[in-house]
Subunit: 314 residues, 4 copies
Amino acid sequence: MKIGFIGLGIMGSRMAANLQRHGHALVVHNRTREKADALLSGGATWADSPAALATQVEIIFTMLAPTQSVVNAALSEDGFLSKLAPGRLWVDCSTVAPTFSRSMAEEAKVRGIRFLDAPVSGSRSPAALGTLVFWVGGAAADLKACRPLLECMGSQVVHCGGTGAGTSLKIVMNQLLGTGMAAFAEALVLGESLGLSREVLLEALIGGAAAAPFLKLKRERIEKGNYEPADFPLRWLQKDLHLATTSAYHTGVAMPVTNAAKEIYRLAIRAGRGDADFSALYAYLAEQRDVHDGQQHAPGGNRPTATLDRPRSS
Amino acid sequence: MKIGFIGLGIMGSRMAANLQRHGHALVVHNRTREKADALLSGGATWADSPAALATQVEIIFTMLAPTQSVVNAALSEDGFLSKLAPGRLWVDCSTVAPTFSRSMAEEAKVRGIRFLDAPVSGSRSPAALGTLVFWVGGAAADLKACRPLLECMGSQVVHCGGTGAGTSLKIVMNQLLGTGMAAFAEALVLGESLGLSREVLLEALIGGAAAAPFLKLKRERIEKGNYEPADFPLRWLQKDLHLATTSAYHTGVAMPVTNAAKEIYRLAIRAGRGDADFSALYAYLAEQRDVHDGQQHAPGGNRPTATLDRPRSS
Amino acid sequence: MKIGFIGLGIMGSRMAANLQRHGHALVVHNRTREKADALLSGGATWADSPAALATQVEIIFTMLAPTQSVVNAALSEDGFLSKLAPGRLWVDCSTVAPTFSRSMAEEAKVRGIRFLDAPVSGSRSPAALGTLVFWVGGAAADLKACRPLLECMGSQVVHCGGTGAGTSLKIVMNQLLGTGMAAFAEALVLGESLGLSREVLLEALIGGAAAAPFLKLKRERIEKGNYEPADFPLRWLQKDLHLATTSAYHTGVAMPVTNAAKEIYRLAIRAGRGDADFSALYAYLAEQRDVHDGQQHAPGGNRPTATLDRPRSS
Amino acid sequence: MKIGFIGLGIMGSRMAANLQRHGHALVVHNRTREKADALLSGGATWADSPAALATQVEIIFTMLAPTQSVVNAALSEDGFLSKLAPGRLWVDCSTVAPTFSRSMAEEAKVRGIRFLDAPVSGSRSPAALGTLVFWVGGAAADLKACRPLLECMGSQVVHCGGTGAGTSLKIVMNQLLGTGMAAFAEALVLGESLGLSREVLLEALIGGAAAAPFLKLKRERIEKGNYEPADFPLRWLQKDLHLATTSAYHTGVAMPVTNAAKEIYRLAIRAGRGDADFSALYAYLAEQRDVHDGQQHAPGGNRPTATLDRPRSS
């Protein structure tokens, strides 16, 4: 059985390599061919277009961003969807809106193609190690058919429900990631402004009950002020916060905290931090150019003033 | 050595009981005497006022809310501060603003009294089990002097820095708690509106990398819709979010996400959920009275519509 | 010259009536035919579908919500766009995203049809009186061709720029309207909670430098607590805030205040106020079900407590 | 009758000059004496301290910021309050929290002094022209006694209610000002990002129904990018937004939009715009350092992309 893989970026190249490592024959396509070199050396076949790829494979994985790239790969003149033989399976691992997954499933269905949305949790390193988590939406039978392949790339495969359930869960996950990072960045900046050392703060918070576990992975970046290369660019997470809030709009749900987070990430992007790891939100919020002498901000540590909060000594 | 304990609410009564259990002699005071009954049966001495208590003890613990109660206990006509012999130690376990701790330390100092701010993490159950975490600000020597007592009540004692460092860390902790709960509530409501079952969501999120560990303790409440009795009333957490954002104002820090969370908790209080456990924020956000027929909100599950997000099929 | 008019709701019916009043021959279509009765009595011709209408007219006005209705009217199987003769003009008065206007202009262009986006400011009453303001995007020549018709329906016609400029300005306008109403609602609720009478507040604020002029039109509603029938339903304004923030996302702009407003309108919709006039946001924010005795909220007026803000009396 | 005036900054110096111009004898005090030079040349008497001033006058006006300055002037060792003869009147024109006004009124009352809170609307120029608006809280009889003096400095004197009603209204007013400016700044930045010219935007919005009248006064600043010298420094308005949201906290009111605005002003201060006129919030939000080539932000005008919002052409 030949497997098609479209989208060989940071994630896709590592995922495809794991399929290859398990002995699967690949036909690959990417916008820029250089990204495919390692896979081609390993025996993969190059296809000049998604359409050309489609005629050679029984299953297609796509791992693309942004959404428009998925549209182009699937539905453009050179797209694969109209070239796939009926009954084939398309597994979209891209992080997209659940409504988009559902519309892709419909486009597939009218052509007799089966569809799974199967976005992943985990970034560069879990992709390389094959320890991603797959959140899958679609028919159980279709998942059963491709589960062995997913297990080459991930250590956990979760069936979340019907079409769109995978991307729904992924969106929720990244909304938690984005707001969690923002809340933690605010916590650190507040704590330091109150005179606590960063060391005391990180030691007390990370690993504690109130800080999300993923923050452990960000500790070293924060300590060293080193946000490049990005595991997960801030710009992408802002996109996912937008997907979450837009989905919420369409289902009539209120997300005031998530919207506030979304806007702060946007301000950080505008301040030039879009390509940095998303933990750079801390660096953005910690930045301070105010030099007003009348302020209580001493260099090297802000000293809060007690003026208004002093109780009366009776 | 006799120990004074003022403030015998949910937390204080359990903390004092642990001191007693370890064989310490207590003199206690509380606004309402009934709360002291168990301790008195156990051998504690009742004091009619903070002032009356002060003359009998070498160390005083206070565990009070709101801030004004601390002021009253310490500085009113009946207050303990002017009655304590010089050199005595006051340990304030209340959750208050760092600026307030610093002003209390000054009030103490001018009377020759030593002061530690030592707020705790953990609610009802860790208070009973003696597994609280103490975040301590003040002189190392003063902490050394009372550490054995703190270890009767808590399993971890962290020296965070000088005066106010304990309350600073506590405020930061509760800011994380409050925003973390709000982000999670929004995640759940979004996920359910997208058609995911609450079970799938809780299973995928809780214990995962993106959800703070304390949420495990809230799972059963959310599953059963049972927010009473409160471990930590929503109203109190909103107060702590206010302490955090006010502290941030005074040190010149921006906390847009925390401010957004603070306001949502306020709306939840106004909607009648102030006395419920703070995890009731989920119930508040999940509540829906909109019955417009043109809406996509089917009873029992919202169905998102794809209208605007449909890509073009070229 | 025959004029087509599609969409005879609150706004469209009144706009079409003004065209008729000026002697223009109309062919009309609406989802429900009853809405057309008055116009048909006045001499208008009924068309069973947008397509049927298209073959009889030289210019088409559309006044529809939501966006999908515009898509259906223009591009569905029964849509008008493929039936219009080349060179005809489509004027879309609907409030939609600028990106949507631009895509409609493209759809029109490939069929040789000219396109103007021409949304309006003003609600029920200006629509009836012919005193709307038209914000027009598109070619100057196309505007020139239909300006006399627009002047039958509005007192001001502003050419804002190329395609999408009209809807861009309209979105900006409604973003100001929505946030302005929200800011004013918060002002009123705060003022009343501080003990000011609503009369003093309305007298001082409305007509002053800090309150937008449109608030004059909302005064009576607020004084009487009467938000029905809606001039402009709260639900629609929330949609426009969504259009604004989504547009901002696509152009990379931050709108933290507008996003916060958007979410509060959403909460008001969820609380059952979606069909009320958007000034009901005040009623939503003023609502209070908290009955905690420990709170400072006396019935009939909240009394602020001075505790923390008391300065020290030295 | 001799009049005391304490606080000769941008506002106070101009207000005192108007009293002098109307023939009133002044005794003045200021932290730095130079600010008093013009008044002293005009015949005013200098007092070395608030206490020294108190013994010479029948009425005292204070116009001070921040709050602590009022505390110092009134209640410190050198303060005026304990030196004023019983029955004298203190009129505080400072912008402070209503709770603070109420506590000052109490401090005054215990010494037999009458108190009015009388903050003003209007900045530098109305102060010079004597066209301020006074918002007064306190007893009607006390207002009657000093109304002629207020009318030397302002064109409108509004009795808002009992003690604290003046500062309550002022806080509400500035909350509207701050959120209104923020909403307008977001509107402009959005409009420009959508391709509208600043000229078209300012022409359409300013003077229209949705933009607050005070924005007319900011138009030239925005057009010229000239925010110095400040009529009203951004930093001060942020303080007033803090007063509003803190007051709201104490009265149990939710102000999500105002809190969001407060945080954006804070970010603008941190970015170095605290001393600029508050209309510089626009410049802050318009600033853009993102240079990612994959973005749709062309220099000189962002071009929105339609990707996700394209409807399907069926």
